[in-house]
């Protein structure tokens, strides 16, 4: 692992006697967007939580390059939008004020991001009255307004229709273009292909494969990858046919 990588070292996490995460080593390039793929229960979201510091691993460490280390340089968007009982604009300006911006500056920046997310016409609407897609775009705008170095995305399009998905993906692409390191969990290979540079496949709490996008889709590293891409269920006792 180089000092410039986001590195995971000997991370394990168990719930009761169930080992939910077991990652001896994983290095992620901070310059490329990472898509974490895998079936339900593979430990994708848990890995994201551990990296962002929301869950403590039983063992192991997560290392970030210097300027990425502080959680204040990171942001996260959850699968279900978490919004305050305030207006859409106030949701963003609240996050900015927490980070030390004056209320005038926070409001101005919030409005800029509302515009970028094409939500400016809804600035004064209570956030919880927005549609599911608008709410998730608002969460994206709030995360991006914080100008993070790393953006963790936990299946942000999981419950969205295709139009809303396209709108959220556009914001993710914006973040990638701005040079933000995006680490995104998804179970949709097509989405990973659209947004990712490197792809990690997880299975039963372990890293089943890590490849560049091109290799992942064209020359799968192993049988698990090809099975996943073929849409076959990844059973617990799956083995490569001899």
């Amino acid at each position: 692992m180089s000092d410039l990588d986001v590195g995971i070292c000997n991370v394990t996490l168990s719930f009761g006697d169930q080992l939910r995460l077991d990652i001896p080593s994983l290095d992620l390039d901070p310059k490329r967007s990472t898509m974490i793929l895998g079936p339900n229960g593979a430990g994708k979201s848990l890995l994201l939580r551990v990296m962002h510091g929301l869950s403590q691993p039983d063992t192991g460490t997560v290392n970030f390059p210097d300027q990425y280390e502080d959680r204040a340089r990171q942001a996260m968007v959850f699968q279900r939008p978490v919004l305050l009982r305030r207006t859409a604009l106030a949701n963003i300006s609240f996050a900015l004020r927490v980070r030390g911006h004056s209320s005038q500056d926070a409001r101005r920046r919030a409005m800029t991001w509302m515009m970028r997310a094409e939500l400016d016409h809804l600035a004064n609407v209570p956030a919880r009255r927005l549609s599911g897609g608008e709410q998730q775009r608002l969460c994206m705008a709030r995360a991006l307004a914080l100008e993070p170095k790393i953006l963790f995305l936990d299946e942000p399009c999981a419950s969205l229709d295709p139009n809303a998905t396209v709108a959220v993906e556009a914001l993710v692409q914006d973040a990638i273009d701005l040079g933000v390191k995006v680490i995104m969990v998804t179970h949709d290979p097509a989405q990973a292909q659209r947004l990712g540079s490197e792809i990690v496949l997880m299975h039963q709490g372990r890293i089943a494969a890590k490849q560049s996008k091109l290799d992942f889709f064209n020359s799968p590293q192993n049988y698990l990858v090809s099975s996943f891409l073929a849409g076959k269920p990844l059973l617990s006792n799956i083995k490569e046919p001899s």
Binding site: R49, H52, G53, L54, R71, A72, Q74, A75, M76, F78, V82, L84, R85, F94, A95, V98, R99, P126, R128, R129, L146
Partner: protein, 235 residues
């Protein structure tokens, strides 16, 4: 003996004509109970918030204790406050017994656990919802508390109204520590008890009517808050 209809009619006249004795009793009741709600809120809401964060030893035990205090019998509270404030009690020198202050103290003790328990439940539910997001946004504990209190503002207001409902309708504690002294510590509930025993049903009924009206107003206020919150989708 007056019949019910006559008494009721007379009681309405007393209310409408603004009978000074009647209204002085009503105003004192409101003063005592509103002050008690304010004090109980100052004690109960921070206590509830502290218990909702619940990261210290014995938090669970204190929560159970506070929850069980919700059912405190008013007469027992009255008795305890009486013993403390009576001339031979530890705070007897203050000379507070049989004053509105004593009644405020008794009602505050009675409703602070209700407000604390309801606040804890409310704040805990809201905290569960925002815990990860707030951690992700790097909120300090103080910022977290402020944000939670604001996010839980509607249910917290409902908790205060619940406390007020209990305070204004309570009779046992204020009777013991206030003494039901005319023009000094006579409130609606103690007057109703006294006037009924004297057979002065019209004044008792007039006060009863106002008490019920206040109860309806409090409930209506809770309903309106609920509706406004729903309208704004601040649910």
């Amino acid at each position: 003996m007056q019949n019910f209809a006559e008494s009721f009619w007379f009681s309405l006249t007393l209310i409408v004509t603004g009978d000074s004795e009647l209204w002085s009793i009503v105003i004192l009741s409101l003063q005592v109970s509103l002050t008690a709600v304010l004090l109980a809120a100052l004690i109960g809401v921070p206590t509830g918030a502290l218990l909702a964060f619940g990261k210290f030893r014995g938090c669970q035990a204190i929560t159970i204790f506070v929850n069980s205090l919700m059912g405190l019998p008013p007469v027992v509270v009255g008795l305890c406050v009486y013993l403390i404030l009576s001339s031979s009690g530890p705070l007897g020198v203050l000379g507070l017994l049989y004053t509105p202050t004593a009644m405020i103290i008794a009602q505050t003790i009675l409703i602070a656990p209700i407000i604390a328990a309801l606040s804890r439940e409310t704040i805990q539910a809201v905290h569960e919802e925002y815990r990860d997001q707030f951690t992700s946004l790097c909120l300090s504990n103080w910022q977290r508390l402020q944000a939670l209190l604001w996010e839980a503002r509607f249910p917290l207001l409902t908790a205060l109204l619940a406390g007020f409902g209990r305070a204004i309708a309570e009779v046992g504690a204020v009777m013991i520590v206030g003494g039901n002294i005319n023009h000094l510590t006579r409130v609606m509930t103690t007057s109703i008890a006294l006037e009924t025993s004297k057979g002065n049903l019209s004044l008792a009924l007039a006060l009863g009517t106002i008490l019920v009206l206040i109860a309806i107003l409090v409930n209506a206020a809770v309903a309106v808050i609920g509706m406004r919150r729903h309208e704004a989708m601040h649910v």
